[in-house]
């Protein structure tokens, strides 16, 4: 079966060798049909992003995943550099910039804090969705569809079995998106895409 959607995982993780969660998630989705994984810190260790090559990758996929840990309530800096350079005026946005129209973007992030600390009275002022607003806005300006994020919370405290569980969820979501097995309404009403039932 030819997959309905081609997915690319753009991984932005500067210290993957020290990662507990992201590495397991990646191992789980490694080799899935129709899913390619790219490690941006390895591709551009000197931050010299090959804009042409990156734009080509975007054109060849339907769903783009930005997978990264949450650093200071945002992404590692290479993703910001990537956004700045790759999403060019006239390519991704602007009057004639329609190359990415209709594609979907998913943020797959990991966070040390628990789900209920974000956006609560006692904990952190903003929710994960609040914090991801710049990414969401960027995606919207490029006429793409920003999916509810895939979030792994409390990474410092997770036991191996809990991480394995998160990885199973990740595989389920990625496969579902690839095969188009979730309804669009169902997806968009979720706070986190993790919560969607198969």
């Amino acid at each position: 079966m030819v997959p309905k959607n081609k997915i690319v995982l753009q991984v932005f993780h500067p210290v993957l060798h020290k990662s507990r969660v992201n590495r397991v998630l990646l191992e789980a989705v490694e080799g899935l049909e129709g899913v390619s994984i790219r490690y941006l810190y390895d591709l551009y260790p000197d931050y010299q992003i090959d804009v042409t090559a990156e734009q080509e990758v975007l054109l060849q996929h339907d769903i783009i995943v930005w997978q990264h840990p949450l650093y200071w309530y945002s992404s590692p800096s290479l993703l910001k550099e990537w956004l700045d350079l790759v999403l060019e005026h006239g390519f991704a946005y602007g009057k004639s910039g329609r190359a990415l129209e209709g594609k979907s973007v998913l943020s797959a992030i990991s966070s040390g804090g628990s789900r209920d600390t974000y956006g609560s009275e006692k904990g952190l002022k903003f929710s994960i969705r609040d914090l991801l607003a710049p990414f969401e806005q960027t995606v919207c300006l490029c006429r793409m569809n920003y999916l509810p994020p895939f979030v792994t919370h409390g990474t410092h405290m997770l036991r191996a079995d809990q991480i394995a569980h998160a990885a199973e969820d990740y595989v389920r979501i990625i496969e579902g998106l690839r095969d188009g097995s979730f309804s669009e309404d169902d997806i968009m009403k979720q706070k986190y895409i993790n919560d969607i039932k198969s």
Binding site: Q48, I49, D50, L87, H89, K95
Partner: protein
């Protein structure tokens, strides 16, 4: 000398030098042997272009030695010299005494008188400053253990010439009756004796030190202000010549005086200018000196009694070598450095010509003995470059190979994941980086001198030619993961790559590429990675240049990146192209210029994607102003 003679002589000397030195260099013999051969060829026994005036030329050319010592002095700050006192007086003194003793004893055993024995011993104990220092400098050994030790010994010999010259007239007594008149010296026609002369010597030396330390810089400041280069050169020559003349006048060695004035001027602000000015004169005069030594070899005498002469030659070199080798050991010179040290000083020196003549004049030596000594010394000088070549090519590798086989066992025990072939300037940086990050590496290098130094600093470096299959095997290539080839000779580099590929297909091979052609060959061989040497450092300096020319540093950095990427692309394209029409290229040099042309052309045609266009807001500004305009039109 008539004018016509002068031109003809100059023509012969220069022609001989210009033809033979490049050939000798090309064959790996060094310039000294080239000059000597040139001298032999134009000398009285082969082509006969120069005859007995060769000896006059030799005396004139000895001044090259004076200049050389002046230049060496300039390099040697006084505190450095002071630090060498042990090796100068200890090693140097013992060398002269022991050698003189053994050679003297042999001479007496061969039927010379005691006095003649002492004269011969001391005379032959001296080595050739000109040959040794020129050769060592050419090989870049002056800063190494063998170079410093050789220099110490030569310096002491230069000092010793003074007392030897004083001693020789006294020796006449023991062979031919007392002759006291030689003790009296004349300076400027005035009779001088004993203590007065010593006082004069001290005055002159003090004068040189004071003038060199405090006054010379003012002198040169005035000269420099004239802005006339040739006057500065003249002043530099004047300085050296006047020092030498003064020293000679009071009966000291001119070379020693020049050396002394060099040392006291080592901190002088005009030092580099002086060096640059004297250097060519020194080189030419030394060349002339070597030619005249070559020309002075008496092949007639050699032909009439080859057995005697050659066995004397062998005895001279043998005795000197053994004494030097033992002393080198005692003074802590190790392995190959010590054989280098002993071989380099195992000949007779230019002072021997002076001393032999002086001894003959004083009746210490008979004319036959003098002629034989003269010939043996000249031959020993001619043989020295050959001995050093022998040491380099045969003995050093043997010494290190025996050390290496012993250590190969430990290599195998350690099983390092990394082998670095070639540990010169490129390999050292790479190796330091990897070792600093906890990697253990087996390092192979075939330059014995590198190994000596690097081992001293605790690197595990082994002697060997990495293109040999057995050496790669003993370095543990079957267990290693990565082989880095950093040798700078493309042929050798490719040989190593091929060997490794053939025998150890699992090995990742990373290579330093030296030039375009080498890069193509590496692409053909599909090595795992290669990097052009020089590329990075040139680009980094290029970034600096752009920054100083007004670019923002980050902008310059990005431009360098674009260039780097582009250079890589061009390389791949040209590689394709070259596979297509390899046969079009006639010669290497032609190929090189053509390549350069191609690179520049390809670079002009395509400057690559503009990396920073996202940061350039002009397209957005245009669009914004268009919108503004249409909005205004609508509202009006």
């Amino acid at each position: 000398m008539h004018e016509q003679d002068f031109f003809q002589n100059a023509l012969v000397y220069l022609l001989a030098a210009v033809i033979s030195v490049p050939i000798a260099k090309r064959l790996g013999f060094g310039s000294v042997l080239g000059y000597l051969l040139a001298g032999i060829i134009i000398g009285p026994f082969i082509m006969g272009y120069i005859g007995h005036e060769g000896e006059d030329v030799m005396h004139f050319a000895e001044f090259g030695v004076v200049m050389m010592l002046f230049l060496i002095g300039l390099e040697l700050k006084p505190n450095l010299l002071w630090g060498m006192r042990r090796s100068i007086f200890g090693l140097g003194g013992l060398q002269l005494l022991l050698t003189a003793l053994v050679i003297g004893a042999v001479a007496v055993a061969l039927g010379q008188s005691i006095g003649a024995g002492i004269a011969i011993g001391l005379t032959l104990g001296l080595s050739s400053t000109a040959i040794v220092l020129q050769t060592l400098a050419e090989k870049g050994l002056m800063k190494q253990a063998s170079g410093r030790a050789s220099f110490s010994v030569l310096l002491l010999q230069d000092i010793a010439v003074v007392p030897i010259l004083a001693l020789i007239p006294l020796l006449a007594g023991s062979s031919q009756g007392h002759n006291s008149s030689t003790e009296v010296q004349y300076i400027a026609g005035i009779e001088i004796t004993g203590w007065v002369q010593v006082a004069l010597m001290l005055t002159v030396i003090t004068g040189i030190v004071v003038v060199g330390l405090y006054l010379v810089k003012y002198f040169f400041r005035i000269i420099a202000r004239t802005g006339l280069r040739e006057i500065f050169t003249a002043a530099a020559l004047l300085l050296v010549i006047s020092t030498a003349a003064l020293m000679e006048l009071v009966g000291l060695s001119p070379a020693l005086g020049a050396f002394l004035s060099g040392v006291v001027m080592a901190n002088n602000e005009y030092r580099h200018e002086l060096e640059a000015d004297i250097e060519p004169f020194k080189g030419l005069l030394l060349g002339l000196f070597f030619i005249s030594v070559g020309a002075s070899i008496n092949f007639g005498l050699l032909g009439s009694s080859p057995g005697t002469i050659l066995s004397l030659l062998a005895a001279l070199i043998g005795i000197k070598f053994v004494v030097l080798f033992i002393l080198g050991r005692v003074f802590g010179i190790r392995g190959g450095q010590n054989t280098m040290f002993a071989f380099s000083l195992a000949q007779g020196g230019e002072f021997a010509f002076v001393l032999v003549a002086f001894s003959a004049d004083n009746g210490v030596l008979g004319p036959d003995t003098s002629a034989i000594l003269f010939l043996v010394v000249a031959l020993s000088m001619a043989v020295t470059p050959l001995l050093l070549l022998l040491n380099d090519k045969i003995i050093m590798p043997l010494v290190f190979k025996s050390e290496n086989t012993r250590e190969e066992d430990t290599i195998e025990e350690e099983e390092t994941p990394l082998i670095i072939a070639g540990f010169g300037r490129f390999g050292v940086v790479l190796g330091r980086f990897l070792i600093a990050n906890g990697m253990s590496a087996t390092i192979l290098d075939n330059n014995p001198e590198n190994i000596d130094v690097l081992r001293k600093f605790g690197f595990k470096v082994y002697y060997g030619d990495a293109s040999r299959a057995d050496l790669l095997a003993s370095a543990g290539a079957d267990k290693a993961k990565v082989l880095i080839v950093t040798v700078d000779d493309p042929q050798k580099s490719l040989k190593i790559v091929d060997q490794a590929r053939r025998n150890y297909p699992h090995l990742k091979i990373l290579v330093r590429a030296v030039n375009m052609k080498h890069s193509y060959e590496l692409l053909d061989r599909k090595v795992d990675a290669f990097e052009r040497d020089m590329l990075e450092s040139s680009l980094l300096l290029g970034i600096e240049a752009l920054t100083h020319l007004g670019y923002k540093r980050y902008q310059a950095h990005r431009l360098a990146h674009t260039f780097r990427k582009h250079a890589r692309k061009v390389l791949f394209e040209l590689h394709q192209h070259h596979q297509d029409d390899e046969k079009l290229y006639l010669s290497e040099t032609k190929r090189h210029t053509m390549e350069l042309e191609e690179i520049f052309r390809a670079e002009k045609e395509d400057s690559g994607h503009h990396l920073d266009s996202s940061w350039d807001v002009s397209s957005r500004r245009e669009e914004a102003s268009e919108l503004n305009l249409s909005a205004r039109e609508e509202s009006s």
